[in-house]
Assembly symmetry: C2
C-alpha cells in the first residue's frame, strides 16, 4: 500500500480521501502534529500550494494538503476560501438567510490538493462539483456546509449521503482521484527513477 | 520629517495614517509595488506580523503594514479579518441582513500595525474602536463598512466624518498613534544607538 501524509486536523477529510484512494492502492495518514499555514486568496490552488510548500519541508516522504470551499454564485463566490471561518462564526443558516430572494441557488464546492516530496511542491490537482443550495438543511453526515449542498443529478445533500455515495460526487474525492491517477502514471515513475 | 514605507494599495489607509501621524512629525509613503501576503487567522496581530516579516526583507529602511477588520458581536466576530473579501462579495447590506432580529448591534473595528526595520519585525501596535452597526448605511467618506459603523459617543458613522473627525475615533488612527509614541520614545533611540 502506498502511503501519503495528509496534513489536516479534519478526520472527515481523511476518511473521504481514503475512500477515494482505496481503489488505487493508496492511503493517507493523518498528520495533525504539523502547523499548516493558509494564506488569504480567492484561489484555492494558491492556498494549497503555499501551504504545501511550507509543510513539505517538515515532513519526510510524500505529503499532501487540501483546501476546499463552497462558492455560492448569487453571493459572488462567498464564503469560498473562508468557508470554515464562516461556518464557525455565522453557521449554516446564514447562507440560507443571505440567499433569501436570490435569483439562483447555484453553487459549487471546490477542492485543491497539493502534493509534494523531498522538500518540494510537485503538483496540484483541483476539482469542482456543481450543485444547488437547498432551502433547508438536511442530513447529518459530513461536515461544514454539507447539509445545504445538493450536487446536480441528485436531490440528496452531501450530508444525506454515506461516504461511498458522497465519493461519487464530491469535489474532494475527484481531486484526490486525479492525484492518484497522476501518481500511478507519472509520479511513481518519477519516484522510481529517483530511488 | 520621519518617513516610514507603508505597504498597502489602499489610499484611504495612507491618508488616515498620515492624518494620525502628522502631529508627531512622521509620515508614511505608499508602497503598492511590493506584494503583501496575508495569512488566514482570526488574530489581526498574527496577520500583520506575518505580513511584515516578509515585506521587511524587501524594503530598505523603516516599513509598516496594517491589518484591520470589523468584528460584529452577534455574528461571532464576522466578518473580522476577512472584511475586505466579505465587502467585495456580499457588500454592506449583507451585514444588515444578517443582523436582522439580532439582540445586539454592538461591533468593533480592530487594527494592528506592524513595524520593522533592517529585515526584522520590531513591534506591533493594536487598537480597538467600539461602536454599533446602524440600521441603514449613511455617508460617503471612507471605505468598506464605514457607512454602517458608528463609534460609541457619537451618532455619526465613519463614512459621515471628515478625516480629522474620523481620526479622533478610528481604530487605525489610534494604532498608528501608538506606533508614533513608541517610535519617538523607544524606537528612534534604538535607531540612533544603532546608527
Amino acid at each position: 500500500m502506498i502511503e501519503f501524509d495528509f496534513v489536516t486536523g479534519n478526520q472527515f477529510k481523511i476518511d473521504e480521501a481514503n475512500s477515494a484512494l482505496a481503489q488505487y492502492g493508496i492511503q493517507v495518514r493523518k498528520r495533525d502534529d504539523i502547523e499548516k499555514i493558509e494564506i488569504q486568496s480567492t484561489d484555492l490552488e494558491t492556498i494549497a500550494s503555499a501551504a504545501l510548500a511550507l509543510v513539505v519541508q517538515k515532513v519526510k516522504g510524500k505529503v499532501v494538503v487540501e483546501d476546499s470551499g463552497l462558492f455560492v454564485h448569487a453571493l459572488n463566490g462567498f464564503p469560498g476560501p473562508y468557508s470554515s471561518f464562516v461556518f464557525d462564526t455565522l453557521g449554516i443558516d446564514s447562507i440560507l438567510k443571505l440567499l433569501d430572494g436570490a435569483k439562483t441557488r447555484k453553487a459549487e464546492f471546490r477542492s485543491s490538493v497539493a502534493y509534494g516530496e523531498e522538500g518540494k511542491l510537485v503538483a496540484v490537482f483541483s476539482s469542482v462539483t456543481e450543485g444547488n443550495i437547498v432551502t433547508q438543511p438536511r442530513g447529518s453526515n459530513g461536515f461544514g456546509f454539507d447539509p445545504i449542498f445538493a450536487p446536480i443529478w441528485t436531490q440528496k445533500t452531501f450530508a444525506e449521503m454515506e461516504m461511498k455515495e458522497k465519493s461519487v460526487y464530491s469535489h474532494r474525492s475527484k481531486a484526490f482521484s486525479k492525484l492518484a491517477l497522476w501518481y500511478l502514471n507519472e509520479g511513481s515513475k518519477k519516484a522510481k527513477i529517483k530511488s
